[in-house]
Amino acid sequence: MTTVALEKSALEKVGEAYSPDQMFKVRGFTRGAIHEIAARVRPGMVEEDAVEMARDILAERGMVQGWHDVYVRFGTNTTKTFGAASDPGVILGADDIFLIDIGPVFQKWEGDGGDTFVTGTNPDKARCAVDARKLFHIVRKKWEAEKASGRALYDFAVVEARRMGWELNLDLSGHRLSEFPHEVHYPGGMADVDFTPTGGPLWVLEMHIRHPTEKYGAFYEDMLLDDSYFPDFKA
């Protein structure tokens, strides 16, 4: 236990500039930007143009810098893992799926968030988008109720995703946030820690699910927080 406690205190370090209030403020900006970007995405748009538009929106809101790149992924590109280049020139269809993943820096503080949207009525794609969010909350509730470790949370997430009919991409398996850049404290994944991540703006939980055979997936990401921070969530 001592080792775990030491590890936890080491990996949850923050710098002098860290401010929970500012971190929550950036969370709000991040969620707002995701929805604003999504609202401007239209069928017929080329993915590269959507990324440009997303960068413009973030820059207009004082979030020129990102600790990671801006991802707006259309259709088959929604299966791409974090950091992977999209196939170029993908155009969003009228009955399609797209995801957004942004990691903006506002002044000195990092945000990170993601969500998935559909353009039509395809029930499988709609379910995929809904399930990414649902899985996020199922795993978050396990953390809240059982104080499970990061590793246990993602072990659980893999099983739950499969139960829903999806494959979980563990390349995206949660991580730290802090004053910019968090990588000086801990650049690794939440799924690699054997302690219970502390709630608050220290960690993000993320779920990237993919169809087991078809080329689409969905993503949802937000801070690891209790129910009180998710007024729209209903268990």
């Binding site: 990996l11 440009e52 810098q65 790149d69 850049p181």
Partner: protein, 407 residues
């Protein structure tokens, strides 16, 4: 005096001297296909009481072959790390996930671990180690993991099988045998080591093995190459077929094998079916490839591009790569938090006036980031400058302040 009794001596074959291999084989093979993998798979990767997460610094980096890199990692803050030869560690990659590598030395001499890294085709992490890692880079590592080991008191009915960088844990175990001076007491004991590799060049540590064999006179080394060459006397074909050719009866043998799943499965299956081998006597460390990543292609060309840093240091980039990566290799401290994607603005450099007009104008996002981070005239983001032949001679200065470089 040789004490071992073969049911069928390996007369036609090939436990031949290491130096002979060195002399008789041709130069590097140019095949580009990858090795089975560089990632030991084990059920024993869950942390245990003895598992530690430690920070390490890259202190040595040697390209042992076209596809293999030998790294040495030193513990930061003089941490003491205990492990058994044969075990492996996880290195935390920039994507946050661990990639697993066997420890290739028996004792952490000078508090350092040796790793043998095979370049996984399309592998983001091994690609980064090959193309971008530099002395002084820091990593988080976790371990030790795994139960694989070769007991120093192993009998003469012991066969060791390595596939590619599966040699690493076997080397650690052989070093342990040397350290325990068992050979001094039992010089007659013979241990067969079959090392399978794609080509002569992929037997990347024959010199090290030669040195070990001088202190382990019973060590018989049988290289088995995928690709034969008329001038090379090494065996060719599957490594397990070589064992089957050399032994009539394997029922009393223990086999220790490290390598790809297909190699180990075929070894167990065919040796059991054809030579009476008891599969429960197979101790294996199975390697699998790490997750692939599509965004780290090798440079399109290897043509060098000369660069002059701070009016003093001549460094070399490669045509087709971003300037950032050439600078990182040369040891320039640039945070590049976003990994060179043009998102964070923390890889700023200053271009000498006579070169500015020869660079393409910054695109919108670069211009925005330069303005936002307070860049001066002539400053650029090094991740946005793609090296081309006509930039040979480019003069630049490192910026002392890059937002994000606070620690």
């Amino acid at each position: 005096m040789l004490m071992e009794r073969f049911d069928r001596p390996c007369d036609h074959a090939t436990s031949f001297a290491l130096s002979a291999l060195s002399l008789q084989c041709p130069g590097p093979d140019q095949a580009e296909t990858g090795e089975p993998g560089a990632v030991p798979r084990s059920d024993a990767t869950n942390g245990s009481a003895s598992t530690k997460r430690l920070e390490v610094t890259l202190v040595a980096l040697r390209r042992a072959s076209k596809r293999t890199m030998v790294l040495r990692l030193r513990f930061v803050d003089g941490e003491v790390f205990k492990y058994r030869p044969g075990q492996f560690i996880g290195l935390v990659a920039p994507d946050g996930r661990q990639r697993f590598f066997s420890i290739a030395n028996a004792d952490p001499v000078h508090n350092e671990l040796e790793l043998h890294v095979n370049r996984t085709p399309g592998g983001a992490f091994t690609g980064m180690l090959f193309d971008k890692a530099q002395i002084g880079d820091r990593f988080w590592m976790e371990g030790p993991f795994g139960d694989f080991t070769i007991p120093p008191e192993a009998s003469s009915r012991t066969i060791l099988v390595a596939g590619g960088t599966g040699f690493a844990p076997i080397k650690a175990c052989l070093e342990q045998m040397v350290a325990q001076r068992l050979t001094g007491m039992e010089t007659s004991r013979t241990i067969h080591l079959y090392w399978g590799a794609r080509s002569r060049e992929d037997l990347y540590d024959v010199a090290g093995l030669d040195a070990l064999s001088k202190r382990l006179p019973g060590l018989r080394f049988i290289p088995v190459l995928d690709q034969g060459h008329p001038d090379c006397s090494a065996r060719t074909g599957f490594v397990h077929r070589a064992i089957i050719e050399d032994f009539d009866d394997l029922s009393e043998y223990d086999i220790y094998a490290c390598g790809a799943p297909a190699m180990i499965e075929a070894l167990s299956r065919d040796c059991a079916a054809e030579r009476g081998f008891d599969p429960s006597r197979l101790i294996a460390d199975i390697f699998t490839a790490g997750p692939a990543c599509e965004n780290v292609p090798p440079p399109a060309t290897s043509a060098p591009v000369a660069l002059l840093l701070d009016q003093a240091s001549a460094i070399e980039g490669v045509e087709g790569e971003a300037l950032l990566f050439a600078l990182k290799r040369a040891g320039v401290a640039l945070p590049a938090v976003c990994g060179g994607k043009g998102a964070c603005g923390t890889c700023r450099i200053h271009i000498a006036p006579q070169w500015r007009s020869r660079l393409a104008e910054p695109a919108k996002q670069e211009a925005r980031l330069l303005k936002f981070t307070g860049a001066g005239e002539g400053d650029r983001l090094s991740c946005r400058i793609l090296l081309t032949a006509d930039l040979s001679g480019l003069e630049l200065q490192a910026c002392t302040e890059n937002n994000g470089d606070r620690q």
